[in-house]
């Protein structure tokens, strides 16, 4: 067996090597951030200037945010769609999860099976009928339609059901004896108890919606309704060679995610580990 000291020394070396590895791993992000601070003429100088010689950060970000391109509008669209989708999806998933785990009723298992089956259907296999449906019921090219596409999450239902099942049935029974209906029990007893799980799911749903490229690509046509992923792509093809601006836009789009992730990282990582969740 190794001595404590020897172990620590070895651990230190591995840490240093791993740290170097992580810097290499994050290099694209570092490059993106630094490029967004540079003047355009310095972007492709070689050797790469890891510390910009000529700082242009304020001008770049000002150009992206207050230039001709309506970046704030797209930002607002993204916030709106992501926040509403997250709230609605959490509510619907939590209700279903509660119904499937805490209320005993006929056909409950059968209905749960139906929900389960839909989880196996790849989203892209149903894009065409969804598109036809949306065109015919007027949800095409609207934020409402986009929000609805992200609101019925089987995954969220699974995750939260898992947590509701962990709640002792006595809580529910005793509340029922005291005359509380399920609506009341759900809202004032069950939900507060699974708050951490809901928070985890909410963060994940927010990230997924914020990053969603495919649904806006297909279901949104009007320029003024676009969310960030497509707005960034358009900005890229419009800005052509202005890479410092493109990078400033990319940084702006990713930043809220990184902040949310760092604040909520513990619950995100736990949630993912727990449910083996994948967007």
């Amino acid at each position: 067996m190794e001595t404590r000291e020897g172990l620590n020394w070895r651990k230190l070396v591995v840490t240093i090597l791993m740290f170097a590895g992580s810097v290499l791993f994050l290099l694209p992000f570092i490059w993106m951030l630094i490029t967004s601070f540079k003047v355009e003429t310095d972007v492709f100088t070689y050797p790469i200037q890891w510390i910009p010689k000529h700082w242009n950060a304020i001008e770049n970000y000002k150009e992206v945010w207050f230039g001709d391109y309506p970046f704030p509008l797209y930002y607002w669209n993204s916030i709106k769609v992501a926040v509403i989708t997250t709230v609605v999806s959490c509510l619907i998933s939590a209700m279903a999860a509660y119904g499937f785990s805490k209320i005993k009723f006929a056909a409950s298992n059968f209905l749960f099976m139906i929900v389960l089956v839909t989880y196996m259907i790849p989203g892209q296999a149903i894009l065409i009928p969804q598109f036809i449906l949306y065109r015919n019921i007027g949800l095409f090219d609207s934020h409402l339609g986009l929000i609805m596409l992200g609101s019925f999450s089987v995954l969220g239902t699974f995750m939260l059901r898992q947590f509701f099942m962990g709640l002792h049935q006595e809580f529910i029974e005793s509340a029922k004896i005291d005359g509380a209906g399920h609506a009341r029990i759900f809202w004032s007893i069950a939900m507060p108890l699974v708050k951490p799980a809901v928070a985890t799911y909410a963060i994940l749903r927010f990230i997924w919606t914020w990053n969603d490229y495919q649904n806006p690509l297909i279901f949104i046509r009007s320029d003024n309704l676009l969310t960030l992923p497509i707005a960034i792509q358009k900005f890229t093809s419009m800005s052509g060679e202005f890479y410092s601006l493109i990078m400033a836009a990319a940084v702006s789009a990713i930043l809220p995610l990184i902040i949310i992730f760092i604040i909520g990282q513990k619950s995100v990582i736990e949630g993912i580990a727990l449910g083996g969740v994948k967007g």
């Binding site: 067996m1 791993f25 619907i92 509660y98 036809i132 007893i189 580990a273």
Partner: protein, 313 residues
């Protein structure tokens, strides 16, 4: 929370009267009410569409013709598909893309073991390797597009500097485009898989390692004899989710290569999108969707079989 229960228990016991079979009926009603938003949403947005996909697979139809323009062609779409060079190419690329899965599984597993047992600052490493996974694919793809720029991009500048005079043109080169996309995909996937592996490691009993230490086993032996085999349920789970995920690859292709150059990065979902929403061939694209669905179904079924047979939790 405790407070809530207290206030509830102060209610008069009169409410207890509703009992008997009406109680069960009430339960059923509440049950339906609670699950119905989810059920209705899933039925309208998933179940009915998948049936429609299966039906449309047998039609020849163009969006602009309206419903009257539907012509039923039997299996013709599927017959055409398997003579369609672009489709065959897409499927082939999908299968080549499968190679990313074992690669990132291996990398993620090694990283997970190192982070779990052999480093300080665990929290930092978990975040650092996870960042690509939470970042917006489009933004990341835009960055890589610039990094891979053939003539003055940073990657090729670096390669030239270390003496490679004729570096590949990456995503602009038909021979390297798919590999470039695969590398980025591996880079994005590592964080997610690593986190699941770290969770898997927590469930391995510590005394196994202590026993191995007493027997004088070195790190490699411990990995080979304890860690690797005991992680096999996790690996299996990640393998299946990973394989299914490769069949759904779309964003990165749409942003970086649009299936090109000369079809070298076309994949099933990209081809589906291109056929349906660019070329407006609804029936034909639905047939592709059916094939995609069948692939995913087969994998899921295979997983279920294999789980029954081999994996013991």
């Amino acid at each position: 929370m405790g407070q809530n229960i207290e206030t509830l228990s102060q209610k008069p016991p009169a409410a207890r009267k509703r009992k008997g079979w009406s109680l069960q009926r009430g339960e059923t009603l509440s049950g339906f009410l609670f699950v119905s938003p989810m059920l209705i949403g899933v039925s309208i947005l998933v179940l009915i569409p998948i049936i429609a996909t299966l039906v449309l697979g047998f039609a020849d139809w163009n969006f602009v013709q309206g419903f009257d323009g539907i012509r039923w062609v039997g299996l013709q779409n599927f017959i055409n598909l398997f003579q369609d060079e672009m489709f065959i190419r897409s499927i082939r690329n999908n299968f080549i893309f499968l190679l990313t899965v074992p690669i990132y599984l291996l990398v993620s597993m090694v990283l997970a073991v190192l982070i779990d047992r052999y480093v300080y600052l665990k929290g930092y490493f978990k975040i650092a390797y996870f960042v690509p996974y939470v970042s917006m694919t489009v933004a990341v793809a835009v960055v890589w597009q610039v990094l891979f720029q053939p003539s003055y991009g940073p990657i090729n500048e670096m390669l030239k500097a270390i003496g490679i005079s004729d570096p590949p043109k990456w995503i602009a080169d038909p021979h390297f485009a798919l590999i470039s996309i695969m590398m980025i995909s591996i880079w994005i996937s590592i964080g997610f898989n690593m986190i699941i592996y770290i969770a898997g490691l927590q469930s391995i009993p510590k005394d196994l390692y202590e026993a191995a230490d007493i027997d004088g086993a070195n790190a490699w032996t411990k990995f080979r004899r304890i860690t690797f085999p005991l992680l096999s349920p996790t690996s299996f789970f990640l393998l299946v989710t990973g394989i299914i995920a490769t069949f759904k690859v779309f964003d990165i292709i749409a942003v970086m290569t649009q299936g090109g150059p000369i079809g070298s990065t076309t994949m099933m979902v990209w081809y589906l999108y291109d056929t349906a929403f660019v070329n407006l061939k609804v029936g034909y694209a639905s047939a592709i969707a059916v094939v995609l669905f069948v692939f995913v179904l087969l994998i899921t079924f295979g997983q279920w079989l294999a789980e029954k047979k081999w994996v013991n939790y």
